[in-house]
């Protein structure tokens, strides 16, 4: 009887695990579709839209950042629990990256 109980418990756990993986997969597939959509919008804004550079450059940069967010949080599982330290690493890196890029495009002398 005890053995039967353990088996039922295991089956419930396996079922739960499968369901959760499936749910993760669904989120990842939706984020893939959104990433394709964002890519298409960015390419079309440059290829077919008659927008000024002042509008289109910030626009595609925003689209790229959103897409990278999906990649990091869903594809690379940063939205799962236990990813506080990786998030700290990545955000510190982004901070250094932004400061460096801003420095290079504003105070370059060549």
């Amino acid at each position: 009887m005890v053995k039967g109980q353990i088996e039922t418990e295991n089956r419930v756990q396996v079922q739960y695990r499968l369901e959760r993986n499936k749910k993760d997969m669904r989120h990842q597939f939706i984020s893939f579709l959104l990433m394709i959509f964002l890519t298409l919008v960015a390419f079309m804004a440059v290829g077919f839209g008659n927008f000024s550079a002042k509008f289109v450059i910030p626009f595609i940069l925003v689209l790229a950042s959103v897409q990278v967010g999906f990649q990091l949080y869903y594809f690379m599982h940063m939205s799962n629990k236990g990813h506080e330290v990786p998030a700290l690493f990545m955000y510190s890196a982004v901070l250094v990256a932004l400061v460096m890029i801003i420095a290079f495009i504003t105070i370059i002398w060549i």
Partner: protein, 209 residues
Amino acid sequence: MQIQEKLSFETWPAAPEKETLEGQNKVLGFWLFLGGETVLFATLFATYLALKDSVPGPGHALAKDLFSMPLVFLMTMLLLTSSLTSVYAIYHMKNFNAKKMKFWFVVTVLLGLGFLACEIYEFNHYVRDFNHTFSSSAFGSAFYTLVGFHGAHVIFGLGWITGLVVRNWRRELSLYTAPKFYLASLYWHFIDVVWVFIFSVVYLMGMVG
């Protein structure tokens, strides 16, 4: 759980890549590495942005003369899809299905090879038809360093995943191999992260002018 323990579908943990201390350390260390890679690529992006279109004379090709949208779009789709297939691979890893996991990693490698072939064609085209080489201008140096470094990451990633799949071809999944596959997929996603900024900042912004 022990690292060398033989596990089954029923006993496979929910997060096999972090079940052992070794796995936890690997994942944490790998994220630190990815933070460093982000800064590394940022320096290359900063250099590119500062030196974009800096050419010594009027005869040299500029960004708006070089890039063609269909090829960049194809490369983007190949890499983005390969990112999804490696997500599939990890999904099957979490469900203790080694066969399907390896299948999707093989698909990832094939898509990555397609990307690489496009990039080789592209660089060859620039060198032959536009005389745009690594040493022809500051723009050329910055461009090939940034995009070439990304291409080198693709080559390394392909070698890594191929090595893992070949080494584990006949093996079942274990807590020893799970973190290895997980990290390879993280690396592959990171390559796509960098490519998103390359196609936006280098190619699309280059076409805008």
